[in-house]
Each structure stands twice: as structure tokens, then as C-alpha cells.
């Protein structure tokens, strides 16, 4: 009951907040009801997250405050009573059975994701930080700075709504159900907006097909139902797309605030959003005359919507894009050496250079889509959780459409969107650091929309059948993958499986989390299996070698005595570290653990064996045995007495 109420009130607060923002900015009128409902969610999703940041840093992440704010924002939904415009109706030549078939597919995908929303979360990244940081924020009742690269000191706009869901649900099991329920709701909204917005150009059948294709892309199936932020950042990109199209169509400044909000919220959700801001600058230049004024409006709104997390980083580290601008912060004397040092920065640079080396050469601008779709390399993560085949399959009909309409392209309201897509792609390939296809997921709805509009318009409808076939085959693959992915969730629901059993089956190392929870007097645990943090009841400290300085655990750099001191400084009472089956690396963590054990500073508690797999869906693909040791830090050992 409470989780359901929490999800409903949060959804109402989001749409209410969005409706109010749109009304204040003059963007509520002149839209059809469906489009403005989904646009309200998109804008409200960013708006409520923006507001929650201030509530969080003020230390008001408490149930009464979040319920009160949500109820207040929900009043914004009364704006839906204002008259809306009549929806555009494009001629639909699709037979009725096709429409019904698409509607049935929509229900199937919705059911799969709904069932996932009822099960305990089991995705690695989600449990490592997307849900764990909100859990920690809720425990503290406030936002606090986490000085860890990649999953701590990052823009956390979207995580604010996760925290709200958890708080509204009251934490614990109810809070978790509210959180997964909220993931389900928020994970579908970008498709809703894509469908509603697509109706401006496409008939219902094509618009629905495009929205379904996006919702069931393997990367979406994997990300939308979990806490992955990309599926939700698509809302912000679509907000910007709506703004670009309207700014171009109406030749007014007003819609540019939507572009600014979309770009700002994207930047506040992930560093990659900064590339999107640059991208939007280029796109705004193509929306009409008075470019300077347009850029000023866009820039001001973007800065307001997106600055907070960069400012948060800056006041704690001296580097707004921690740690990517460390050298500049260091040169200006602003760097906080308690958080990052030149030595760590040099190690980190080597790491980034290595990760980004896959797509460094020039040819990747052209070959990336082909390689990512047909011959994926591991770094792209584009195989099982990729983008599906549609983008390649649809190329010829889309190319024909573009060629046939080449004289009208520059005048199209979608032209600034096409500029946005092109510039973002170029910037992402060049500066995106890690070439995972999942990272371009937020701009995919825009690409899909432009491709489909071009394809449907092609040469006397010559592209319709190939495009239809491409859509059919792609949906077939997507639904096959979605079905496989959902099998465990269906089993969970159908058999009435216990949550513990589900987690034992689907979360590798869950036995280790259970073992840690069974150990008495654990105040905080140092852990190497990052995805277990959400289910460990005590406070956790993720090892994150080379990504944080609080405990220097870089292999080859570890001094046992310093390690012991740093563990104590972080109030760690226990460690859960991988077992050393072979002689440990000199100055490595396992060697240090062995040395501290010999000195009596670490006392062995338990060894836990567990299975490890790379795919939750296809566990038998890579099944490995793993072993971890739980140690207790002995505060009475000689080392601590000498300190």
C-alpha cells in the first residue's frame, strides 16, 4: 500500500511540477493534451530533482518533508484542466489488425517491465550506486559529498527522485518496492513523450511502433527497469527536441527555455551532458534569427538548470568536473589535496587514455555504428545490451527519403534536431571517453524520430515496405531479448518465489551480503563487490582502487600500516575482500591483508564461496567460482596502540 501510494504521489508531483514550470514559462498552451502530459513529466522530472537537491543539502530528506513537498507539487496537475489544442491526425494507411497488434505488443512490454518493477533490484550498477547513494542519503537525511570518481562525485540529478521514492516509501522493503516501482514508471515516460511528439509527423501506427522500438531496445530493457540513468535522460533530450522544433517553427524565443531545461538537466545528470550542452548551442543557431539573443536565453536557462552539481563538486574538490579538470584546479591553487593529488590524477589519466583508446582513430566516425551493431567489441557493450539492428537496417529507405526531400530538409522543423544529433555524435566519438553504446541512449529517440520521418516520406513511399520490414524484424529481436530477460521475473511472480531466493538466483555474491549481515557488530564494511552494497545493512565503503583517496588501495602501492590507519580513519570495522588463492602481488591488497592478519590487526571471521557470472539472463555463459573472506579489524592490535 505505502509503496504504491509513494509511486503515485511522486508521479503526480512530477507532472504537477512540470505543468507549473511549463505554465510559468508560457509553454503549456498550444499543445495537445497527450504531448503536454508527457512533456510535463519530462520537465517535472528535472524540476523536482532540482528542487530536491536544495532540500537534500539543507538536511530535510525526511518523510514528512518529502510527502509535504510532493503533495504541494501535485496541485500543479489542475493545470491540465486548461483547454488543450486538438491533436494532429496524420493519415494512417495501416490496417486495423496492425494497430491492434502494436497495441498488444505495447501491453506485453508494459507487463514485462511491470513485473520487473515488483521484483527486488538486481542490476549491478543500480545496486552499486544508483540505489545505494539514495539509500545512504536517506540514512543521513541529507545529501553529502562522496569523494569517489565515476560513481560518487558525479552529477546526481536523477538520483534525487530515487531518494525521494525511497524516503516516501519509508526505506526498508517498502522503500525498495517504491524505488523499483518508480523505476518502472519513469523508465516508460520517454517512450510516451516520443509517441506523443511523433504524432506531429507520423500516423499513430508508426509513432507507436517507434516508441515501442525504443522502449524495447536491449539497452532500454536492461536500463529502464533498473536505476540506469540513460533511459531517463532521454526525457531531457526529448524536452530539448520539442523546444528546438517549436523554436524553429514558431520563430520565437519562448521554446528555447525548453532546450535550456533539457540540456541543463542532462548536464546535471551525467558529465556527458556537457557535450549535449555544446551540441544544443550548435542546434540553437539553426532555430532562427537573433542568434545572440537565442544563445543568451538558452545559456541562462541551461546554467540555472544544470549548475548545482558542478558547484557542489567545486566547493568540495576545487574541480567542477571532478577529476577531469584537476590540472587546471591545481594550477589555480584550488585543488583539494585531501580528495585528489597529482599522483592520483596521473594514474587516472593513464586509465582514461586506455579506456578511450578503442575509438581514437578517425575512421570510427563512420565505422562505429557498423561495428557496434554487427561486430561489437567488449568495450562498446553493444552486443546483448546494445541498440538492436534497426539503425542499420533502415539506412537505405532513410537515405532515399533524405535524397528525395533534399530541397526541403533545411526548412524542416526537425533540421535543428538533425544538427543536434550530428554534432553530439561527433563530440561523443571524440570526447566521450568510454565508447559504450548505452551512453548515447538518451539521444536515440531523436535519431529514431528523424529516421522514421525521413523513411516514411521517401520517394512515393518506396521506403515504406523496407522500413516496415526493418521495424518488424527489429521488434522481433527486441521482444525475444525482452522475453528472455524477463523470464526470471516471470518465474518470480508466477511461483511466488521468496525475495531472498530470487536474489540468491540472480545476484551473484548475494551469499556474501547475507554473511556480512549475519556478523554481529558491523559498523561499516570495506567491500570489493560493489553491487552488494545495497543489500548490506551496515554502512559500506566500496574499494574503488585508484578512484578515491580515502583508502589508498591501488595495487602495487599499498603499505599495510597505512592501510590499517586509513581503515580506522574511515571507521571500518570489517572487510569483505576476495580470497587470495595464489601468492598475493607484492604491495597489493591481499598481501597487506595477510600482513595485517599476521600482526593481529585483522581477524578472520568467515570465508564465503559463491558463483560469479557476467550475464544475469544467460548465467551459464560465463560461470566462475569466487571466494571472499570476511575480516574484523582488531582495534587492540599493536599497530593501533603505537599510533
Amino acid at each position: 500500500m505505502i509503496p504504491t501510494a509513494a509511486v503515485i504521489i511522486l508521479a503526480l508531483a512530477t507532472t504537477g511540477c512540470g505543468a507549473a514550470i511549463l505554465q510559468v514559462l508560457g509553454q503549456w498552451q498550444n499543445r495537445c493534451a497527450l504531448e503536454r502530459a508527457f512533456l510535463a513529466f519530462a520537465v517535472g522530472f528535472g524540476g523536482i530533482s532540482w528542487l530536491l537537491f536544495w532540500i537534500g543539502i539543507a538536511g530535510f530528506f525526511t518523510q514528512p518533508v518529502i510527502w509535504g513537498v510532493s503533495l504541494l507539487l501535485a496541485f500543479g496537475n489542475f493545470l491540465h484542466r486548461l483547454p488543450a489544442e486538438q491533436a494532429v491526425r496524420n493519415e494512417d494507411s495501416a490496417p486495423a489488425f496492425l494497430l491492434w497488434g502494436l497495441f498488444a505488443l505495447f501491453l506485453v512490454a508494459l507487463a514485462f517491465d511491470f513485473i520487473e518493477g515488483l521484483a527486488p533490484p538486481a542490476d549491478g550498477d543500480t545496486l552499486a550506486y544508483h540505489f545505494t547513494l539514495p539509500k545512504e542519503f536517506m540514512r543521513e537525511g541529507r545529501i553529502f559529498f562522496v569523494p569517489r570518481v565515476f560513481d560518487g562525485a558525479i552529477p546526481l540529478l536523477i538520483h534525487m527522485t530515487y531518494t525521494a521514492a525511497l524516503v516516501l516509501g519509508g526505506g526498508g522493503t517498502d522503500g525498495t518496492i517504491a524505488l523499483t516501482g518508480w523505476s518502472f514508471v519513469s523508465g516508460w515516460m520517454a517512450s510516451g513523450l516520443l509517441f506523443a511528439f511523433g504524432l506531429r509527423w507520423l500516423p499513430v501506427s508508426w509513432s507507436l511502433a517507434v516508441a515501442l522500438l525504443f522502449q524495447t531496445l536491449p539497452a532500454m530493457v536492461y536500463g529502464a527497469g533498473s536505476g540506469q540513468v540513460e533511459a531517463r535522460m532521454a526525457l531531457f533530450v526529448l524536452t530539448a527536441v520539442v523546444g528546438l522544433v517549436d523554436a524553429r517553427r514558431l520563430r520565437t524565443l519562448g521554446p528555447l527555455v525548453l532546450v535550456g531545461l533539457g540540456a541543463g538537466f542532462y548536464a546535471a545528470s551525467k558529465y556527458l551532458g556537457l557535450l549535449f550542452v555544446l551540441t544544443c548551442i550548435a542546434a540553437v543557431l539553426f532555430t532562427g534569427r537573433g542568434r545572440i539573443r537565442r544563445l543568451i536565453v538558452f545559456g541562462a536557462v541551461t546554467a540555472i538548470a544544470g549548475f548545482q552539481w558542478y558547484f557542489w563538486n567545486f566547493i568540495h574538490t576545487g574541480d567542477p568536473i571532478f577529476p577531469f579538470m584537476f590540472n587546471i584546479a591545481e594550477a589555480l591553487g584550488l585543488a583539494n589535496h585531501e580528495v585528489w593529488t597529482p599522483e592520483f590524477a596521473a594514474d587516472f589519466k593513464n586509465y582514461i587514455d586506455h579506456r578511450g583508446s578503442t575509438t581514437r582513430e578517425l575512421h570510427w566516425f563512420l565505422t562505429y555504428p557498423i561495428v557496434a551493431t554487427l561486430f561489437p567489441v567488449g568495450e562498446m557493450q553493444s552486443g546483448r545490451v546494445g541498440l538492436g539492428p534497426f539503425f542499420l537496417l533502415a539506412l537505405p529507405p532513410v537515405a532515399i527519403g533524405l535524397w528525395v526531400k533534399r530541397k526541403d530538409i533545411k526548412a524542416s522543423p526537425l533540421f535543428p534536431v538533425a544538427v543536434m544529433i550530428g554534432v553530439f555524435y561527433l563530440l561523443w566519438i571524440q570526447y566521450g571517453v568510454i565508447p559504450k553504446v548505452r551512453h548515447i541512449l538518451p539521444v536515440l529517440p531523436a535519431i529514431l524520430l528523424c529516421m522514421t520521418v525521413a523513411g516514411v516520406a521517401s520517394w512515393g513511399r518506396v521506403g515504406l515496405r523496407p522500413l516496415g520490414l526493418a521495424m518488424l524484424l527489429s521488434l522481433g529481436v527486441n521482444y525475444g531479448a525482452h522475453g528472455l530477460y524477463s523470464k526470471e521475473y516471470l518465474r518470480y511472480l508466477a511461483t511466488g518465489m521468496d525475495s531472498e531466493v530470487f536474489l540468491e538466483r540472480n545476484l551473484f555474491g548475494y551469499d556474501l551480503a547475507k554473511a556480512i549481515n549475519a556478523v554481529p557488530d558491523v559498523s561499516a564494511v570495506y567491500i570489493e563487490e560493489r553491487h552488494l552494497q545495497y543489500y548490506v545493512k551496515a554502512r559500506t565503503f566500496f574499494s574503488a582502487a585508484g578512484k578515491q583517496m580515502m583508502i589508498d588501495n591501488r595495487e602495487g602501492h599499498i603499505d599495510p600500516n597505512r592501510l590499517a590507519t586509513q581503515l580506522k580513519q574511515q571507521n571500518i570495522s570489517h572487510l569483505a575482500v576476495h580470497h587470495a588463492d595464489q601468492p598475493p602481488e607484492p604491495r597489493g591488497l591481499r598481501a597487506a591483508v595477510r600482513a595485517l592478519s599476521a600482526k593481529g590487526c585483522l581477524i578472520h571471521v568467515e570465508t564465503v564461496d559463491y558463483n560469479r557470472y557476467l550475464s544475469r539472463t544467460l548465467k551459464n555463459l560465463t560461470l566462475l567460482r569466487s571466494r571472499a573472506d570476511i575480516w574484523r579489524l582488531n582495534a587492540n592490535c599493536e599497530h593501533f596502540k603505537q599510533e
Binding site: L374, P396, W459, G463, L618, L621
Partner: protein
Amino acid sequence: MQAKESVSRHRRTAEVLCLAWVGIVFAVYLLQFRSLFPHIFRLLSS
């Protein structure tokens, strides 16, 4: 009349080529997952 027929023939050719592209690329796409098929069948039969 002849020009109209020629355009129609070109369109037909373009459509066939597009369909062929879709078929071939889709087959190549599926090929990358061939090593997964035994695992998928095992999963489905479990």
C-alpha cells in the same frame, strides 16, 4: 508514358534493393549471436 514507366521501374528496383539490404544485414546481425543460441535454448528449456 515511357518516362513514367522508367520512374516506376527505378522505384521498384530501389525497393527490392532496400528489402535485400534489410534481409542481408539482419542475417549478419543475427550471426554474431550464434554462440549464444545453445545457451538460449538451454535457458528456455529449463
